[in-house]
């Protein structure tokens, strides 16, 4: 038995790809515990002097009382979004989720990314209505209370701004964290009313092929959405991670279009107009269109491409000496489930399959993990996702060759993090 286990352990300790990547099942099988038996030193025993007192102060006095609404540890207050505001404005810009400081697949509401076009409105739900009109038999209004009485559906799904990761278009790799570059993606459990139910109640006509969704913010942000998406899986979301939406994410109600670019998921939803043609709004024409190198511009490129990023180690984090590490990251696709993620430690020369941690849900973040024995030398870490349709995350070179430079939206290329012998991690174009 022992011999068999040892053989398994030693097999698992055989590198599966260049520069020290180990088998994805190493951690899952308990193989890491046998690392010592295999004669490999992965851990550094810290000196006893570093130990805290036998009985810490917080064990010698009663703790704090309960609170009506919880707060995180004061020692974690440095885990914050990166906020960028357009010059000359107060509330125009974006805040990015600190991906490198989070684990799992659910983004806490307070750290969910935000992108606003003229600030966050302070909406009194008693004074807010959703109007459905246009090519319908019966124009209707709904308030939050009435929507809350409809049969609700809940799904765990990602939301991503189509401008996410655009910083990697710059000629020089931006020296930012994973969240600073890729933090316009988050993942929540969204709960709401299927938009199709409301459209059917209003008697949406066959002649309607689009809907125009509009928000109750000071930009009255509006986007045109194909009716078939509206009737397929679109919801009017009223809860996020179990609580009411936060103001920065559309309170009291927002449109949520699984897998589609965040800008189309109109926050503070106030009006849905059924139309025969798209409205060609400012945001869907002059902004969120994909300008190609030949001067053609694609409209309505809604689905977000297959993508992944290693969040640990990642830009700005530090290694703690050679040894065994778990590479951890997130993958997602607007087309459905993630089928697999491959990881490279040698800049893309060799890849090996990472472990996908369940649940692997359609159009949701999927956590992947990969054991890695860092030998202390220079390494370039990459991850490459493939989704259930077979779409593969492209290299940066391939994406730029196709899209030209610079382009603004739908950047979903492979991210490269360079680990230096000193233990620093930085963004590189590999």
């Amino acid at each position: 038995m022992r011999e068999t286990t040892s053989q398994t352990a030693s097999q698992l300790l055989e590198p599966v790809a260049g520069n020290g990547l180990l088998h994805r099942r190493l951690f899952l099988t308990g193989g890491a515990a046998l690392v010592g038996a295999a004669g490999l030193e992965f851990m550094t025993v810290r000196p006893a002097a570093a130990a805290p007192p036998d009985v810490p102060a917080w064990m010698k006095t009663p703790g704090a009382g309960m609170s009506a609404y919880g707060a995180r540890s004061r020692h974690e207050e440095g885990v914050v979004r990166t906020v960028g505001t357009t010059p000359g404005t107060i509330g125009t810009g974006a805040s990015r989720t600190p991906l490198e400081r989070l684990e799992g697949i659910i983004t806490p509401g307070a750290l969910h990314f935000e992108r606003h076009h003229n600030g966050i409105p302070d909406i009194d739900p008693a004074e807010h209505r959703l109007l459905i009109h246009g090519l319908v038999d019966r124009p209707l209004m709904f308030d939050l209370e009435s929507l809350s009485r409809y049969p609700l559906v809940s799904r765990i799904q990602f939301l991503e701004c189509s401008g996410n990761s655009g910083g990697n278009n710059a000629p020089e790799a931006p020296q930012q964290s994973a969240g600073g570059i890729h933090g316009l993606v988050s993942c929540s459990e969204w709960t709401g009313v299927p938009l199709g139910v409301l459209l059917e109640e209003a008697g949406v006509r066959r002649a309607a092929r689009w809907i125009v969704a509009e928000g109750a913010d000071a930009a009255a942000m509006s986007r045109s959405i194909p009716k078939l998406k509206a009737l397929d899986d679109a919801i009017v979301a009223i809860y996020q991670n179990g609580e009411r939406l936060r103001p920065g994410n559309g309170y009291p109600m927002r449109l949520f279009l699984p897998g589609w670019e965040g800008n189309a998921c109109v926050k503070w939803l106030r009006r849905v107009q059924a139309t025969s043609e798209p409205a060609m709004t400012k945001d869907e024409t002059s902004k969120y269109s994909d300008l190609m190198p030949d001067g053609k511009a694609l409209l309505f490129t809604f689905p977000m491409g297959v993508k992944s990023v290693i969040t640990s180690p990642s830009g700005g984090l530090s290694m703690h000496g050679p040894g065994l590490y778990q590479i951890s990251g997130i993958a997602w696709s607007g087309a459905g489930r993630i089928r697999g993620v491959e990881v490279s430690a040698d800049g893309g020369q060799t890849f090996a399959a990472a472990a996908l941690e369940g649940p692997v849900l359609p159009k949701a973040l999927t956590r992947f993990r990969m054991p890695w024995r860092w030998d202390g030398g220079t390494a370039v870490l990459q991850s490459r996702a493939i989704d259930e349709t077979g779409a593969v995350q492209p290299t940066r070179q391939a994406l730029l060759a196709e899209r030209g430079a610079p382009f603004r939206y739908h950047y979903h290329a492979i991210q490269s993090w360079e680990v230096s012998p000193e233990g620093g991690v930085r963004n590189v174009y590999a």
Binding site: P87, G88, T89, H117, N118, L131, I132, H133, G134, R138, P139, L140, M141, F142, S146, R149, Y150, P151, P194, G196, V197, L198, E200, V212, A218, A219, A220, M221, S222, P226, L228, K229, L231, D232, Q273, T275, E277, A279, M280, T281, K282, T285, S286, S289, L291, A297, L299, F300, T301, F302, P303, G305, A335, A391, P394, E402, R403, P406, H410, H412
Partner: protein, 176 residues
């Protein structure tokens, strides 16, 4: 197949598989309240490319220049040159280059979008405060600065949808 083409195909596939049946099978409690025609008129501010939704009123570039000088120039610069915020004029001939300058004149495909956006969102500090005449006038001014209409052209619900934008034909819909 390129990534973008692939994405467009995925988009179509998603739409083709739309679950009509599953949505129709769900019954809501029917709590929608009838909206009156007056309410709909008061709320519905979207302008479609064919001109649907354009209100009464009119304006010219000369009148628009006055409004622009008072309410727009601080963010968009003299003659729409931009800074600190978006450049609105110029950039013609740059769209197919490595440094495209996207302005109303060089990039935007529909003139109706100019009216729609100004009316709903500008000025940034006081959206939905302009009159329809002011909005038509600003639209005329920005189209004229971009060399798209003449200085004396009157913009109204009849003329604005007929304005042909220079870059219109370079837009391709990924969803038909």
């Amino acid at each position: 197949m390129s990534t973008l083409n692939l994405r467009a195909c995925t988009c179509v596939a998603v739409i083709a598989s739309a679950a009509w049946g599953s949505v129709r099978a769900q019954e809501g409690p029917g709590l929608g309240v009838a909206a009156t025609p007056e309410q709909v008129v008061g709320w519905a501010i979207s302008i479609l490319p064919d001109g649907t939704g354009l209100p009464a009123g009119s304006g010219t570039a000369a009148a628009g220049a006055e409004v622009y000088a008072e309410k727009c120039v601080a963010c968009h610069g003299v003659d729409g040159a931009g800074m600190p915020n978006d450049q609105l004029v110029g950039g013609h001939g740059t769209i197919a280059t490595a440094t495209p300058v996207r302005t109303i004149g060089s990039y935007w495909p529909y003139a109706t979008t100019v009216f729609d956006y100004i009316r709903r969102a500008m000025p940034l500090v006081a959206p939905q405060s302009l009159t329809n005449d002011e909005t038509y006038a600003l639209t005329a001014y920005l189209l004229h600065l971009n060399g798209i209409i003449d200085e004396g052209d009157v913009m109204n619900a009849r003329t604005l949808p007929r304005v042909e934008m220079p870059n219109h034909d370079n837009f391709v819909r990924a969803v038909p």
